[in-house]
Symmetry: C2
Subunit: 214 residues, 2 copies
């Protein structure tokens, strides 16, 4: 019935939430195919408006208009506004910091600074708005699965790697450590404060990484 479900990423998103993606190779559905340029135009417009005016002020109409498509074309690809922004952020990928780095502390600092500069503001607004979203408990949970947790997992891997290489104390609870590091970014956004220079390095130092500077 609704092609949104039919072609949804089969395993990544159980249930109704998945964005349309990845046609099974060779099996081309009948009828006129989707304009993939339109899809990227939509997600890119969404990301730009997310940064420029924020999630709430980004309307489906304005995104469609900027992408040069009709509103219905957006709804054909994305269940609703939450799904759109989740998919758009997902496309952007996880911020840097190689997990296999031999200098995981530096990679962790890089990850944190990129997160601070490019993702935190949106994250607070989107998740904050989704928490209160009318009834859409599913949209919030899906956003966490697709956006938040992969980034948390990435940061955690960096912490663990740093512990293995002795750049962070082995006694540290990596989960709590990640929460404190990324959380400090949220705390500044909530309070409306600017991040001071080299904050990330100093934050990692606070966890006992004074020795392993790189």
């Amino acid at each position: 019935m609704t092609p949104l479900d039919a072609t949804a990423t089969p395993e990544a998103a159980p249930g109704p939430g998945g964005t349309v993606d990845a046609a099974c190779p060779g099996v081309r559905p009948p009828g006129r195919p989707r304009d993939e340029q339109a899809t990227t135009a939509i997600t890119e417009a969404a990301l730009r408006q997310l940064e420029e005016v924020g999630y709430v002020r980004m309307s489906m109409e304005s995104v469609a208009s900027e992408a040069g498509v009709a509103r219905a074309t957006v709804y054909r690809r994305f269940r609703d506004k939450a799904d759109l922004i989740t998919a758009a952020i997902e496309r952007r990928g996880v911020p840097g910091g190689d997990v296999r780095s031999d200098r995981p502390r530096a990679a962790l600092v890089a990850f944190l600074e990129e997160f601070d500069q490019r993702f935190a503001e949106s994250c607070v607004e989107v998740v904050g708005t989704l928490i209160g979203s009318r009834d859409d408990r599913a949209a919030l949970e899906l956003h966490r699965q697709r956006i938040v947790r992969p980034r948390v997992a990435h940061a955690r891997a960096l912490v663990v790697r740093a512990q293995e290489l002795g750049e962070l104390p082995a006694s540290l609870d990596p989960d709590l450590a990640v929460q404190m590091l990324t959380g400090s970014v949220f705390a500044r956004r909530v309070a409306g404060l600017e991040s001071e220079r080299s904050w990330a390095s100093r934050a990692v130092d606070m966890l006992g990484g004074r020795d392993g500077d790189v």
Copy 2:
């Protein structure tokens, strides 16, 4: 013209944002006085709905209805929804943890746990929503001034006190420390995780407070 401004707290809130309060003693304005019971009924209803259904789903109508007043009565006291929730939270006061305690580390842990249990969820939602609020930059800034910063200042005072008494390393940047401690709460809310038992104590430990356990 608008009695909202005329009687607004004169110094606490510069500009248009202040809630009506505190009539100058002796100087009673003409006409029928405000029903103060209605005011408390409104703020209490707002707080209850904030906890139960969240900020977005809490409508002015539902608050007025639960308080047993007309919507206009709410708007006579509070400029808008943001002003209402800010005033309501403000009335609840800053969570515990005596700044002058001789066991500031314990007080800090208590503050963090109360913050985690009673304030964090609302805080993320309200600030997140306000960040994206239509045009209302002022409402966000006012919420930060009246709600966020007093609590940050309180936590900071506890950290400094702990440093003075040797329960936390004097080398710690208290601002960053507070951001990491309170931020970890936000991080869990964003990720949708439960706080594990004694997380606050372990978080403080991570900052080098292992010695000063109480």
